[in-house]
């Protein structure tokens, strides 16, 4: 039996030796996949990350549960020292007893008209709004870009999620900006 041991190890090492053609093929495949993945990664757009903000809008506590009240929420975009020419954002209430009933434009003349929105946002608790301006008079810094009128049933605060998905300057290039919402001071 001892005489067999060297023979086994020799044949084992011989069998573990990879044939050159297979080794070349495997190496080629691996490099091909790595190259493809690398190219896929390079083609990705380098957009600024989407900014999502959670805001609690206070409401009266001394209201019955079935009473409906109307509120307005101001949506602000702060583009810093860059001029804001286009924006798109989403506003959503986490509560189902909130309904959007109207949308109006912002404070700056460039965005005074009501923004684009889907009609299905009415009587819904979620809306995507967007606007652009090709004029030269554009806001910079913090500016109210829209006002959303809502109907709320019952008392207490409601939580809103707002997400600025797109903000761009005059040439269409994306710029970083911050979104915030607040209850309208009447």
């Amino acid at each position: 039996m001892n005489t067999n041991e060297p023979t086994n190890s020799q044949s084992g090492s011989r069998c573990l030796r990879i044939p050159l053609c297979w080794a070349l093929l495997i190496a080629f495949d691996v490099s091909l996949m790595a190259l493809t993945y690398a190219q896929e990664g390079n083609t990705g757009t380098a957009d600024p990350p989407v900014q999502s903000v959670q805001t609690e809008i206070p409401g009266p506590d001394d209201v019955a549960a079935d009473v409906r009240r109307f509120e307005a929420i101001d949506v602000f975009v702060d583009s810093g020292n860059q001029r804001l020419a286009a924006w798109q954002l989403e506003v959503k209430s986490t509560a189902n007893d909130v309904q959007i009933v109207g949308i109006e434009g912002g404070e700056h003349p460039a965005f005074a008209e009501p923004p684009y929105y889907d009609k299905r946002a009415m009587n819904n608790n979620r809306v995507i709004i967007a606007a652009f301006s090709t004029g030269d008079n554009l806001p910079s810094g913090r500016s109210r870009v829209a006002r959303i009128h809502v109907q709320v049933r019952g008392s207490g605060a409601r939580t809103w999620l707002s997400e600025l998905t797109t903000s761009a300057t005059t040439d269409g290039s994306r710029i970083p900006a911050e979104i915030s919402i607040a209850k309208t001071d009447r």
Partner: protein, 159 residues
């Protein structure tokens, strides 16, 4: 084991001569015969030419399957990387009921970034303002005007 068992066709004279030369053959139990036969079979199964051949084939197939598998994987990766983009909702949109050209497939992804957003409408508006050659008749009414821009913008905010 008797000589008779080895070859009954041997002539009696030969058998007698063999008995005279080697004497009587002791009895060997059949269990020893079976044991020797089993050892021999085991040995040839482990070290025989057939065993060596099958082992070599099996180990060689591991590399073969590795190479074939990696080739197939590489081909799949390459295929999905290079295949033309399927028309999806972000790139090619279907006009809705509130758009003039209902049912027709439109291309609203002006900046070709894979999704329709307000920047596509903004790009169209700048083209129109600057009088550039981008004729984008999205609603197929034969004109490139504000209605086309509005259509793309509405698509961008669709819920």
């Amino acid at each position: 084991m008797e000589f008779d068992e080895i070859g009954q066709e041997l002539p009696d004279a030969v058998k007698a001569a063999l008995r005279k030369r080697f004497g009587p053959v002791p009895d060997v139990p059949s269990s020893i015969d079976q044991s020797i036969l089993a050892d021999a079979r085991r040995h040839f199964e482990q070290h025989g030419p057939a065993a060596l051949r099958s082992t070599k084939r099996r180990r060689a197939s591991v590399w073969q399957w590795t190479a074939i598998g990696s080739t197939v994987a590489a081909a799949c990766v390459l295929f999905f990387a290079l295949m033309p983009r399927q028309p999806n909702q972000a790139v090619n949109i279907v006009a809705t009921s509130d758009t003039p050209a209902s049912g027709e497939e439109l291309t609203s992804d002006v900046d070709k970034n894979g999704r329709v957003d307000i920047l596509d409408a903004f790009a169209m508006a700048r083209e129109m303002r600057d009088g550039l050659s981008g004729f984008r008749d999205i609603n197929h009414d034969g004109r490139f005007d504000q209605l086309d821009i509005d259509m793309v913008a509405r698509e961008a905010v669709k819920l």
